[in-house]
Symmetry: C2
Subunit: 342 residues, 2 copies
């Protein structure tokens, strides 16, 4: 059997802290003998949560005490300066020290990014890390980045995002040559702003499988395997999509609860609507990678439940098993060498 | 009775040209005695389309010949230079000459914006026009701008968009003090890029009802009456939303057509699903205003059908009746005077 992967979990992070992280950890351990987990946080709280589930520490589950906790709305600079013994910081330290191969946190995104970057540093050739997740599409799923780590990106940054996204898509999906699209407001070469146009010329020059500009509606049509954009645009695009899905769910529910007849129709349709919901269940897509770091850090949604958080832990295991950081490093080296050879 | 509003229609524009514009015109004339329409385009084609419907010109329906047509993928600069007798250009000329009070086109957005700006000019104090439309939300609808007229905007531009959007919301909805939100990646003051932060300080200083930052998912939750953003972000956000809605419709349809049982469930649920679709039917939201010009120009979706195009014509009538351009001019004057008084 392969060596187990050790993953440090920020047990205090997120809206629900240990009450979600601990049961999610137990769920993963029950089905994945190849994973070891370290629960990082207040020892008493973690033990209490474990005892409440009739579980205990063991070979594959340990605790690492941390006395502080980063608040969900705490400015990243404050967290960096004053929370040196936070569960988030200690979990990242364990990756740095080689005691874990990855960490997962549902805490404050800004603080997680700033701390991970400060502690782990970026890979050679990477200026800025980016947040990348998979999203459902009509054809399967797509990888999108950056989703908010950066508020403005140069053409070179967008190029690096393209490399990182490609590597992730290859590593996780086994896709040998993922098609990379650049998010823009038109498909013709003449459209878009200067940054996007320059990024397009960088991305089309090398061996990246650059497929051209994609528009907002192409993301969910599944036109590209990887969609690259700056973090401002990516975050707004991601959240707009969530907002539309929520509005549609709200209206469907309201129409079915209008009167007795529509309620009956709703009962008929329930199994089908549930099957549909499973398909685009955001919990199945939980676990965004902070790419470009010298180590694996996975961000879970702050409001994640047990199932969603468990998914984020499994994403971490895949990213480690597939040596994503090392592959990003070597892929980027290859592509920059190509550029200099021209 | 009030004087009729005269609206020039670019009868050649859009994916379907006269075969949609002509029946849409007849539909509007049948129910709106206060509207006169001018069909601008190839006289033979227009007459043929009219005859095909058993209709003829009359008091409230006339034709204005134009020998050219702007292609859907034609670069704006080319259209401006070589298509001086296009149906689009002639329709805009009629607004300039006072022979129509508004024009509607389903043609190429870039060419429409460039031509309208060149022929009509911007209002005093407005640097750049913006594209604004209403979108469905959980609470009703919201107005969003810019949706793609500009690829990068300064804080001052975003402020002007806020003024224009407020005026439109007041004029159309009768909302005396519409709440204006600025699209950003976080609700806290510390987040976002410099442009958005500076725009926030301009918008919160005067008498605009500025409600703060809104995130992507807030747009469809109906948090703000007006959502301001630059055209790059707005266009991607709008299209992402369309993409998600299309993906959901596709999956719902697929789940219901899985087998005989799900098909039966679908039959039960059909009236309810249809009621739901009517509620977010994009055709009911067709007709985006090009704001900030010395005249009223309405952009219809290129693929609009008869019902959608008729809606765009009625939007034009409301914007004219409510004197939107004049009100933008005076509102902006008031707000700039406030700023200087500080």
């Amino acid at each position: 059997m392969t060596d187990p992967v050790t993953i440090a979990l920020d047990a205090m992070g997120g809206d629900h802290g240990a009450s979600v992280v601990v049961p999610a950890a137990l769920r993963v351990l029950a089905r994945r003998p190849d994973i070891r987990l370290l629960l990082v946080g207040d020892e008493d709280i973690v033990e209490h949560a474990l005892a409440g589930r009739g579980a205990a520490f063991g070979d594959r589950l340990a605790v690492q005490h941390a006395s502080q906790c980063v608040e969900m709305d705490e400015p990243p600079s404050r967290a960096l300066r004053f929370k040196k013994d936070s569960s988030m910081r200690v979990a990242i330290n364990m990756v740095k020290e080689g005691r874990a191969q990855a960490c997962v946190s549902a805490g404050n995104t800004g603080a997680l990014m700033a701390t991970a970057r400060y502690v782990l540093k970026t890979l050679p050739g990477i200026d800025r890390p980016a947040i990348c997740t998979s999203l459902p599409t009509m054809k399967g799923h797509t990888w999108m980045l950056d989703l908010g780590a950066n508020v403005d990106s140069s053409p070179e940054h967008l190029f690096q995002f393209g490399v990182m996204g490609s590597v992730l898509a290859t590593a996780v999906d086994g896709n040998p040559s993922p098609g990379v699209g650049l998010l823009n407001i038109g498909e013709e070469e003449i459209k878009g702003n200067d940054t996007v146009r320059e990024a397009a010329s960088l991305m089309s020059a090398g061996s990246m499988n650059y497929i051209g500009f994609v528009e907002g509606d192409d993301v969910y049509a599944g036109v590209a395997d990887v969609v690259v954009c700056d973090g401002f645009v990516g975050n707004i695009s991601l959240k707009t999509g969530e907002g539309v899905a929520r509005m549609i769910a709200y209206f469907i529910k309201r129409e079915f609860s209008r009167n007795l007849l529509t309620r009956l129709a709703g009962l008929c349709a329930l199994p089908v609507l549930k099957a549909f919901r499973r398909r685009i269940d955001p919990r199945r897509y939980n676990g965004a990678s902070l790419l470009g770091l010298r180590g694996t850090v996975i961000k879970s949604h702050g409001g994640a439940d047990e199932l969603a958080y468990a998914n984020a832990i499994e994403v971490a295991a895949v990213v480690v098993r597939q040596s994503v950081p090392e592959r990003i490093r070597s892929q980027l080296e290859t592509m920059l060498a190509e550029r200099q050879a021209v």
